[in-house]
Structures are given as structure tokens and as C-alpha cells.
Symmetry: C2
Subunit: 104 residues, 2 copies
DNA sequence: CTAATATGCAACTAAATGGTTGTATATACT
DNA sequence: AGTATATACAACCATTTAGTTGCATATTAG
């Protein structure tokens, strides 16, 4: 799969969206925290986190017996660029249509 | 599922990403065109399109025996806002860290 | 050293996904 | 009218996904 599609797919789940949002708010947490906070077993949490790791949105840092979840800086740049590009193209089409209709 | 997660999930597939991109480039096509252009059966194309319709990224307009695929204006706004928000928060955290380290 | 804690790895299940084929229906062409 | 075309709907299949439980391993606490 495309790297970009993989990023969107990783974001396409409420639990994973919540994880990313919490990270961006500066919250610090471990795999176990994700499990207890988001109401899923540790293994369930681990699987969601692996999806985010594979999409390079997140990295895992073992520290002692805990594993901390860290945000991967700049990981959303491609997704942002895609959306911006799509919207830009679409807007310029609408603008061209507007000018045509107004006869400019 | 959250409306937002549903949007990301809909974008989380190379074929659907391609459909959205083509629409934004101003291409005009029917369900049958998606099928032949993207190498999937009509029913396969139809299913992908339904995912995009459910996420409100696209609408289908029957015209005679054809069904045209149209881009749904502003449909990506929430996705864009989410990413912008996450990046903004993250950047301001990094900035705070920088200032702390530099002792400003 | 022993007990508790946090995770890893593997197996399993139910449901969703991505894809197909087959058949039916409506529209368009000659 | 009769044929070809574009789609709809349903059933089916293989794979992936989201979740679980069970057991093993490593680290921390007493």
C-alpha cells in the first residue's frame, strides 16, 4: 500500500485518532496507559499502536519495564499536503467556473 | 464510528485516494470509468465509491443510464482542521521546549 | 529471593473489507 | 422492436482487522 494511504488508514479509527490527539496535546503515556484510558486490553492497545508505528506516526521507546509512546515529528506532513493539494485544485476549478459564469 | 475517523478511513485506500485526486483535478467520470481506469470490476468500483459516499467525500449523480461521480465540496475541511490542530499543538510544544532549553 | 507489574508473542474469534460472479433492470442505439 | 450498455442487488470468498485470552519474559519493589 502507498505510504500515504497507510497514514490515512492508520488515522481511520477512533481509538488511534484519540491516541494521536493526546500525544499532540503533550500527554505522556505508556502502552498500559493507553489500555486503561481507552478501555481496551493491553494487547488491543498494542495492536493499535503498532498500526501507528507502521504508518510512522508514532514511535515506541522502552524505558525499564514500561514502553512510552512518542509522537513522530513531521509524520503528518504528507497527509496535510495531500489534502491541501486536493482542496487547492478544487478551489481553482470553482474559481474558473465563477469567472466563466460572470464572463470575466 | 466518528465522522472524522470515517473520512480518514475512506482515504485509507490507494484506489479511493486516486478517485479523490482525479476528481480534484477536474476529471469527469462515471462508475464504469472508475472500473476500467483503475482495474477493478464495476461492482468493485461501486463498493469503493459507496465508501466515499458514506464518508460524504463524493456524491453520485445518475444521468440516463450512467452515474457520474462528483466531488463533495468542503468535505475535507474536518480532516484538514484535525491535522492542522495536531501539528499546531505539537509545534507549540516544541517551541516551548526550545525556549526552555535556551533559557529565554 | 520473591512477588507484582509491564510488556511480548502466539493463537483464536467475529466482523469488516476488498474483491469476485451471476442475475435483473433500466436506458440508449439501430 | 430488439440488442447492447450501465448500473443495481445479492451472494459468495479470502484476507484483514479489532478484539480477546493464555502464557512467557523482563523489570521493579519488598
Amino acid at each position: 500500500m502507498t505510504a500515504l494511504a497507510e497514514i490515512f488508514k492508520a488515522l481511520g479509527d477512533p481509538i488511534r485518532l484519540e491516541i494521536v490527539q493526546r500525544l499532540s496535546r503533550g500527554e505522556t503515556f505508556t502502552i498500559g496507559d493507553v489500555s486503561s484510558d481507552l478501555g481496551v486490553t493491553r494487547q488491543g492497545a498494542r495492536k493499535h499502536l503498532q498500526v501507528l508505528v507502521d504508518a510512522k506516526l508514532v514511535k515506541l521507546e522502552p524505558k525499564g519495564r514500561d514502553v512510552y509512546v512518542r509522537f513522530e515529528t513531521n509524520s503528518l506532513d504528507d497527509a496535510k499536503a495531500f489534502i491541501a493539494e486536493v482542496e487547492k485544485r478544487w478551489d481553482s476549478r470553482l474559481e474558473a467556473l465563477r469567472q466563466f459564469l460572470e464572463g470575466e
